[in-house]
């Protein structure tokens, strides 16, 4: 799995949870909070991505990434380490 594919997965699950993003072009520098995802939405999105790729990351480690590019990078790193 590539970082780009993970980014697409994050975008897909973000559209499921947050209204009004159907036409939004996601880029790596997008911040979920700026897109309208509250803390619960963000936890939900992160869990949906983890379920999609069969990965379990402790919640506390998810506070690090500052945008969805970094989040995809973290998931990629965990996937490669697994």
């Amino acid at each position: 799995m590539t970082q780009m594919e993970l980014l697409d997965l994050i975008a897909q699950h973000t559209r499921e949870i947050v209204p009004g993003l159907d036409a939004h072009q996601f880029v790596a520098s997008d911040r979920l909070a700026d897109l309208g995802a509250n803390s619960i939405d963000r936890a939900e999105i992160a869990m949906l991505v983890q379920e999609s790729v069969g990965l379990s990351v402790p919640r506390v480690e998810l506070f690090g990434p500052r945008n969805i590019g970094e989040l995809a990078g973290l998931f990629l790193q965990k996937l490669n380490a697994a």
Binding site: I17, I40, E44, M47, L48
Partner: protein
Amino acid sequence: MPRNPVVTGMGVISAIGQGKAAFAKALLAGETAFGVMQRRGRQRESAYLGAEIREIGFSQEITRQTLRAASLSAQAALFVLLEAWVEARLYDVDPRRIGLIVGGSNIQQRELTQVHEAYRDSPAFLRPTYALSFMDSDLCGFCTAQFGIRGLAYTVGGASASGQLAIVQAAQAVLTNQVDVCIAVGALMDLSHWECRGLRALGAMGSDRYANEPALACRPFDRDHDGFIFGESCGAVVVESLESSQCRGLEPYAALRGWGIAMDGNRNPDPSLEGETQAIQNALDASGWTSARIDYVNPHGTGSIVGDETELKALQACGLAGVFLNATKSLIGHGLSAAGTVEVIATLLQMRAGRLHPTRNLENPIDPALNWVKEKSIEHQIDNALTLSMGFGGINTALCWQRHH
């Protein structure tokens, strides 16, 4: 201090109609929608009969994302609340003066069972929002967020009397001036196969003797009744003072003149003549009425053998033997937590229509001397109605309604 709580808006959903207009039409036509239940998680080596709501027709005001996160019970609550909200013009009321009472407890069992089954072998991926959605009060969260309600919102539970209890609690919130307007929602009770099995095992839910003729299974007050048949439903009733309704130029449906609540002091699901009589008498006394004033009764009438008999004895004991009555559950099934609210809505819609809906499958009434509305609807102007709801745990509730002139 406000007086005279009145109903200024209503919203309803059931298997026979979504929205008041469709619901009233179906009621008066005596329509039913019973069959083997199909909703995911309702059956397990079983074929329970019931009446399920078809796909809910939402307007665009409720977003896809909200609906995705909302349980069936929450979706039904949003649907009925929107209808009631628009009718009562609540967009024109200070949201800090609006309250919400959700009637029902442990209402989302099917959804919870689904989650447990889906994540049994992969608990690490359990959705974080399960922490919100497992609580009944999540419905308060969805509804207050959608409509911007800022006054108060909480749930009340009283088994199958929850729907009427919610109305009582809403009236109290208005009468004590906590809010100007309070909406009572009778929440959709979403049974899983576990609850169906328990209710069947207890003898409360009807047997499978009509498995091949589902339309005949739900028969309140008929000699061949043998338990209730479940029906999904949900209702919302807007309660406020007459003075408050006049500020927005609304024409109320009816006034809640008084209510009675009485307990049997008995945990078992054994109906009590004494408890039911007490609740009716309390309601009449609170209204300042004698039984002679009542010209329509909407009974609890589930189809339970002892429950039906006890209720008719209570009506007789209270001098109500000559009053018109029908059984709303014969058409929509038993909504459990929702029943009390939805049946009040059925009563007020009949009041406004000047007609009483038929009772299905009432071929041989257990007491033929009563004034039943049987297979055909009849013309009858309700002025003063009594609505009854009873619940496990020995709770009895009675409400007195006066048509608004």
